[in-house]
Amino acid sequence: MARRYLHPLAVPAALLSAGVLAFEICLMRLLLAASWHHFAFVVLSVALLSFGASGTFLTIARIPLLRRAHTAIPVLFVCTAVAMPLAVTLAGRISIEARFLPAILWQQIGHWMLYWMVLGVPLFAGATATGLVLMHGADAVASLYAANLLGSGIGALLAPVLMPVVPPQWLGHACSVPALAGCALLMRGVAPAAARFILPVIGAAAVAACTIVLPPRVGGDPWKFSAHLQRLADQGSAARLAVRYSPRSTIELYRSDTFHDLPLLAGTQSPPPLDAIVIDGHLAGWLLRIGSIEQAAFLDDSMIAATYALAPRAPRVLLAGETGCANVWLAARRGARRIDVVQSDPGITAIIGGRPPQEGAAVLHLPQVRIVHADPRHFVEHRGDEYDLIQLVTLESAPAGGGGMAGLAQDYLITVEGLAACLRRLAPEGVLVAARGIQNPPRDNLKLLATLMAALRTTGVVRPEDHLVVFRDFQWVCTVVSRRPWSDAHVDAVRALCRDRQLTPVWYRGIRADELNQPDALPSPPGSKGDWYHYAVAALAGAGADRFIRDWPFDIRPPTDDRPFFRDFCRLWAVNAMRRAMGEMWLTRTETAFLFVCAAAVVIAVAGLALIVVPLALAGDVRRQRGKAATAVYFSAIGLAYMLLETMAMTRMSHLVGDALYAASVTICSFLIFSSIGSALAGRLHTAASRCALIAVLAVPAAALLFTMFQPAITAPAARGPLAMRCAVAAIAIAPAAILMGIPMPLGLRRLHENNAPLIPWAWGVNGFASVLAAPLAMVISMTGGFVWTGLLAVLMYVVAATVAVVQRQCRQSCSGAVGNRV
């Protein structure tokens, strides 16, 4: 039974853990700025790999470290604090590229591996310090572990607080402060008093010196838009006007006379001067430097303007995900009586609002415009009104093949359920508009068509093809969906539009073969005059729709809330066909996101085995012990299950909270804090550890299933409430399962401590390895089959752990019975 006192190492350990976990989450922010995605699953895996490697190191070096624990622990605290900013600075100087080119593939992979190794160093140092604390305070391991979890939970809350106020390149410095504070607290028993602060001061001085010698910077992918902006700025052709930081993003506004790239224009007028809105280095939209509706006349020639002819007059317009306001000007020009602009990041509105009215800000003050800061899907489902025209602005880009890391992004608006929610918001004569660039071979627009048709079917439509109008030019495809079947008058209007604007019709009710594929011809299916988009609508409307989707060389299955990866098009079986056809260039034509995840899973698994499992298995103390296999199965199963359930909960809570980043923070924080409560409770349980562990691992899947079944009912009433309430309800929904999930680990360790203590490092190691593998594995499973399979695998793992616990308990009982008989 643990003594009831606050261990002197508890608070410093909590502070260190807070700093380490805040750093871990800030790495996701850093990667958003430096690369194309936050790579959360890789960050988690690198973190856990570092933790596991530290376990291996502690196993090998535990005797000398424990002998000098009073020195080693503070030194490790300082090393962690110094390593954080240094790692960010060094990583910023490594060029990482998310677009892999055959000619320099190995060089690019090498840079990535070096990047992760550098960022893993502070996590390794922090984990080593934490592990040494747990080993040194073994008599109070449960409360120290609880302090570790609690501190980690606080760190998860600290990160979103830091990110709006601290630029990404300085986040390492900010996260080092708790570690230095923890070191100062460690030394509070040291005399003389002046000596207490020597180490923290040395640490702070080291951080300052590194900062002066190597100023921190984010670095970045040289192929991002931000790199192009830097090149223009270097020659004096571009300048940054404003910048804002938030947990979600870094938003910048740039000006250059060379900006003209407004999409979907199709006329003879050039756009006016533009300012570029850049989010995390990516071009997010254009701010037209105009001050009145009259100056936006050139937009009348755009492809989107054509869709207003198919909507009711003076429409009520919803622009989902609008960033640059061009569509707002267009809606105003088309006589919209209300324009709701839904944008999840208030920083965009703020940065536009900071401009003079004649340079674009006037659009925010048009009387019919209402700006709503909300997730578009959340808004459509819970807060929207009825609209005559809904434009899916988030889709308006022209991605080329090799969708790259965009395939990892989860988009809950462009799912069957999300589009069905949009359709339900339409007035009876309303239209839904989506435009997207043309790719070769087609994929994006086919997936969009399949998703729209599936969404129409869920709203009760029998012939979705009668509700579609599709037209294009040589670069863009525009799809317009109506709640009602298109009338003959509308079809005639579409014909006239295509003729007058030189657009190519793709699909409408009654389209003739001689209308197809001109004036902009695209490759046709064999024996057909139309293009592949026309062919696809016909196929998706017929009995062979499933086969069409299955046989397409890209993944065009309609995304669902369970598998919300619209921009992931990878088909593994098509990779071979691409390689045979394209040779080296196959990599640029295949969607790399899923391949990146698979490769990351393999590399992480190999690294985990090499750094954690194999060294531990070969360590003398461990090698000689019996029960390694059962220990490995139990601890790896609970490690895998914990991370898989956490990943699944994160996505579920995204729906409720309506913000992916806050949902991630709330989920991680809740799991850590409530698990720490569970761990602390585990330390107070007097019953045999094995029995308690068995109960816990059986209770968790039950709680998870109950969570899955009842979570929508529990959380739905809060969906309309403010963000804080939604976060609180999310935390409460997670609490029961999370508390139970905090029990198996310390109880299992206690059981080992009682029966086979030398296996404790082995248990830590395999648990760490399983946790490392869980993050990319969760991504692979969810991108393939959906998050529900992730949850099911987690439940299965708990069942496996329960089975092992039962078998071990019975073995022990029969062994002790046999000994008793002999005695």
Binding site: I60, R99, L101, A103, I104, L105, W106, Q107, I109, G110, H111, L114, P222, W223, A227, H228, R231, L232, Q235, S237, T258, H260, L262, P263, L264, T268, Q269, S270, A398, A400, G402, N440, P441, F474, Q475, Q502, Q518, P519, D520, A521, P526, F548, D551, W552, P553, A577, M578, R579, R580, A581, M582, G583, E584, M585, T588, R589, A610, P615, L618, G620
Partner: protein, 278 residues
């Protein structure tokens, strides 16, 4: 304890070997070679490729490389893709020293069937794509050609073999200077290179018979359309920075209307799961 150290030493050797391998990759060069090609025609690739022999190569070696490039990638492609048939284009591809427009650290891959990064966020296109674009432009002797996006200058050099009137615009100043210097060094004095915003074309030399736009915008720039003669054509390679997915050839009819068609190098038949080169 000595056992542990032995094992750690062994692990250290393995780790060191991996680091050396990665360092070789970081030193440059390397990629997976195309599968299932006969050894005689398959170029040596991968991290060991640069160890075949010293660089730079002799002029005769480079000529031989160009012949192999044209033979296996353009005129009679090894993988069954649609060959480039225009003899003038083939002659131009044989004549232009591609390696003169490729950075020093990628000289060994100058004639490989792949785009190469040239710095400043740009690439030099795959030789086949350059040939395809040149053929699509359908340049006749004496035609006036405008290129938007000089990049390395290689495409401009190829065009210079078809017509003496080549005008090229590059927005990135260091690239414009470097391309201009490379063109001058190789004797392409007829090519005019200008550091400017290509969106507005080159009004002083308009109208043009053909325009090639290597940096596709979100729309067809109206100034370029105005500077194109009736009967002329614009070629726009559309795709990511490392790849060209398709070439869009936009023709301006005599009455000023637009007609376009797409040239791709990949054909697929989804119902059979078959993907092949055109």
């Amino acid at each position: 304890m000595s056992g542990i150290f032995r094992r750690c030493a062994g692990a250290a050797v393995v780790v060191a070997a991996v680091v050396v391998y990665i360092a070789m990759g970081l030193a440059g060069g390397g990629g997976a070679g195309p599968p299932d090609r006969p050894a005689a025609t398959r170029p040596a690739t991968g991290p060991w490729a640069d160890w075949r022999g010293p660089v730079p190569k002799s002029a005769a070696q480079r000529v031989a490389e160009r012949r192999r490039m044209v033979e296996s990638q353009i005129a009679r492609p090894w993988d069954g893709r649609q060959p480039v048939a225009d003899e003038r284009v083939i002659g131009a591809m044989l004549a232009v020293p591609r390696h003169a427009f490729v950075p020093a650290d990628l000289q060994a891959r100058a004639y490989d069937d792949t785009p190469l990064p040239i710095g400043h966020g740009q690439t030099i296109s795959q030789p086949y794509i350059v040939a395809l674009m040149t053929e699509a432009l359908n340049v006749k002797p004496g035609d006036k050609v405008l290129e938007i996006g000089t990049g390395s200058g290689y495409q401009a050099a190829v065009l210079a073999h078809l017509t003496p009137h080549v005008y090229s615009v590059e927005i990135i100043e260091p690239l414009a200077k470097r391309a201009g210097a490379a063109l001058e060094a190789e004797g392409y004095d007829t090519v005019k290179v200008r550091n400017a915003d290509g969106y507005f074309g080159w009004k002083e030399h308009a109208p043009f018979d053909a325009i090639i736009v290597t940096c596709a915008a979100g729309h067809l720039p109206p100034p370029l359309w105005e500077q194109l003669k009736p009967g002329g054509r614009i070629v726009v390679p559309i795709g990511g920075v490392f790849e060209v997915q398709r070439l869009v050839v936009i023709a301006k009819t005599e009455d000023g209307k637009r007609r376009s068609h797409t040239i791709t190098d990949v054909r697929f038949v989804p119902m059979t799961g078959h993907i092949e080169r055109r």
